[in-house]
Every structure is written in structure tokens, then in C-alpha cells.
């Protein structure tokens, strides 16, 4: 560079870089498909919370008597409620599958000295999930 200072012989100059620090956009999570997937996974926690609050409302209605329960089940039959529950179900299944998907990374299960491969753990979890779901479903329907 023409404007660079002259350095005389014997003088030592330490290079001081002018470091450029790029700023992260608040929309960083749309940059990559994996990040979008991640954010959706994280937002399923909102559905988890919303649904257990709805469960609290169900328990409350049930404890208040047949009329309150009837009013709630009438609301459940509205198209809005059914649509909402379908959205909830899709996101909750997403939560379930992503949860099973990452579970083997946190836990190393051994049989003897051999590590059980992650894919077997995932399959086992899914099988257990289906069995538990059937059991709970049977309990609710058969009473």
C-alpha cells in the first residue's frame, strides 16, 4: 500500500489484524433447512404446554359436574376444536419422533459389554410408545 508506514531495518512490527465480526441476523433460523426443523421441534413445547393446560381444564370440568363436562365435550365436537386437535396431534407426534430420535445420543445402553445401536433403541421406543398408546386408549374407551 502506498500509505503504509515505512519500516526501517531492524525494527519489528507486529501485525495487528483489523478483525471483521459479522453480525448474526435475528432470522438466522430460516437460513438452513436443518435450523427450520430445529425451531419447529423447539416450538412443539408450546403445544405440549397448551395441551396439558387443556387437560387441566378437562379435569376441572369433570370435577364440576355433568353439565360442565357436557359443555366441554360439546365444544370438543366443534370443527374449530377438531381442527385444533389435529394440528396439536401432528406437532405432538413430531415431538415424539424427534425426541426418540435424539434419545440414543444422550444414553448409551449396553448389553454385556456391547453398545446397543441407536437405531434399535429408536425402534424399541417407538414400539413401546405404540403399546402404551393402545393401553391408554383401551382404558379410556373400555370403562
Amino acid at each position: 500500500m502506498s500509505n503504509a508506514p515505512k519500516i526501517s531495518a531492524g525494527e519489528r512490527v507486529r501485525y495487528k489484524p483489523q478483525i471483521y465480526m459479522p453480525q448474526m441476523s435475528i432470522f438466522w433460523w430460516v437460513k438452513d433447512r436443518a435450523y427450520v426443523f430445529f425451531i419447529i421441534r423447539e416450538l412443539t413445547s408450546l403445544v405440549v404446554a397448551a395441551y396439558v393446560i387443556l387437560m387441566m381444564i378437562q379435569i376441572n370440568a369433570l370435577s364440576q359436574g355433568p353439565e360442565a363436562w357436557q359443555a366441554l365435550t360439546d365444544w370438543f365436537a366443534t370443527p374449530f376444536s377438531i381442527g385444533l386437535h389435529i394440528v396439536f396431534l401432528i406437532l405432538l407426534i413430531f415431538h415424539t419422533l424427534t425426541w426418540f430420535w435424539v434419545a440414543p445420543t444422550a444414553m448409551v445402553v449396553r448389553i454385556g459389554s456391547k453398545k446397543v445401536p441407536g437405531s434399535i433403541l429408536i425402534a424399541g421406543n417407538i414400539a413401546m410408545w405404540l403399546i402404551i398408546s393402545l393401553a391408554i386408549g383401551w382404558l379410556i374407551v373400555s370403562i
Binding site: 489484524p17 471483521y20 448474526m24 437460513k31 445420543t105 444422550a106
Partner: protein, 248 residues
Amino acid sequence: MEQTITLQVQRYIPEQYPEPYFQSYEVPLRKKWVILDALNYIKDEIDGTLTYRWSCRMGVCGSCGMMVNDRPALTCATFLEEYAPGPVRITPLDYFGIIRDLVVNTDDFMGKLKRAQPWLITDEAKPLSEGAYKQTPQEKAEYEQYSMCINCMLCYSACPVVGLEPDFVGPAAIALAQRYNYDSRDEGEDQRNEELTGEGGIYSCTLVGECSEVCPKAVDPAGAIQRYKATGAVEWWQSVLMPWKGKS
């Protein structure tokens, strides 16, 4: 006529212009060429001022990591042909300060590595007369995967938490901490836990999982961090429920 492909390379030359900008270069699209070959072609034949790091060109030294079309990659292990017909965007590794063109500042990463204390720690050094620290193949297998890390920093550029939380120790450093935690000869786990279960440690990780996706050595830092979280949780409950079993 030889086929060509355009590389859009991010330049940053602070003495000339205060901000990064893009410059396009047309290079031959040759089979068997990796991105690094294309960069070397630019440097040798088109523009000698282009600055980037590389050394071994065989996926061992870990110095040629860059963003290729916004994904972290070792440019010596990424074929140019995969990006045909182009253009290919080459930018410095994300979330690092840029020194010049594609060269990033590694000082921060070096500091984080130190925090993880990735070296053998023993309570007492064994006298030389007692011989070597022996280890069975099974014991070695416990940590071997984590020892494959080449410090290429791709996992840092894949991790949004690294960008969002400057104090976060980051994937590679934690995987390397686990490399020693799982080593039968090591006794430094308490020391590392002290550093890594706190602020900016393992619990800052939200398991995006991309660190393991981009790792060229299949180290699986995401798995290492998850296992560390589980260990940290067990330790926490032990210290609360069984304080008498506390640390020595």
C-alpha cells in the same frame, strides 16, 4: 472448450475496504478437483492476493474449513463437481471474526479448547520406574471416536448457539473433554465438570445437532454433549440427595 464454473469468493482486505465483498472467478470444472484445488488455481493463475488457509489437502490438518454455499465444509474433501453448474459461494467459517478474505481468527476457539482441559490429568504422576499407563482395547474404544477431532472448527460454524452465545464452549471442545473423561487413565473429570457444567457450558447446547452432521471425522460432538448433560444431571442429584458422598 473446457467447462468452467464460477466461484463467488468473499474477500476482505481491511487496508482497502472496511467491509467484506464478493469477487467472482471463473475456474475450470475438472473432475477430481476439490474446492481447494479451485482456490489454488485462482491463487496461482488469476489472483495472487486471495488469502486462505490450507496445508495437508487430505482431511487431516483441519485448516481449510470454509463455508461452501453456506454449509461448513473442508474444502479439500468437497468436490467441485457436486456444485455444477454453479456458481459456488465460498465464505469464511460462520461466527468467527475475519482477519482477511477466508482466514478467520482462531484465538477464541483456542481459549475455549483450553477451558475444556483436553489433556490427561492425573492426581499423582506415576514414577517412571512403574512403567507406562496401560489400557485395554475395550478401554480405548470408549473414547476413540472423540479422539478423531482435527480441530477444523466446522462444528462451531454449524452451531447457532456458538454465534448467539459468545461464551459457549462449543462442540469440539466438549467432545474433546469427553475424550479425556472417558479415558481410563484420566482423573480430571471433576475439574472439567467444574468448568463445563457452568455458564457457557454443556447446558447452553440446545441440540440443534448440526455439529455432528458437518463433522468430517464422525466425532459426533452432539452425542458427546448429550451424554455429558446426562452425567452432569446425575452428579447434581447425587450432590443434593447424597451430599455425604461428595467430592474427595
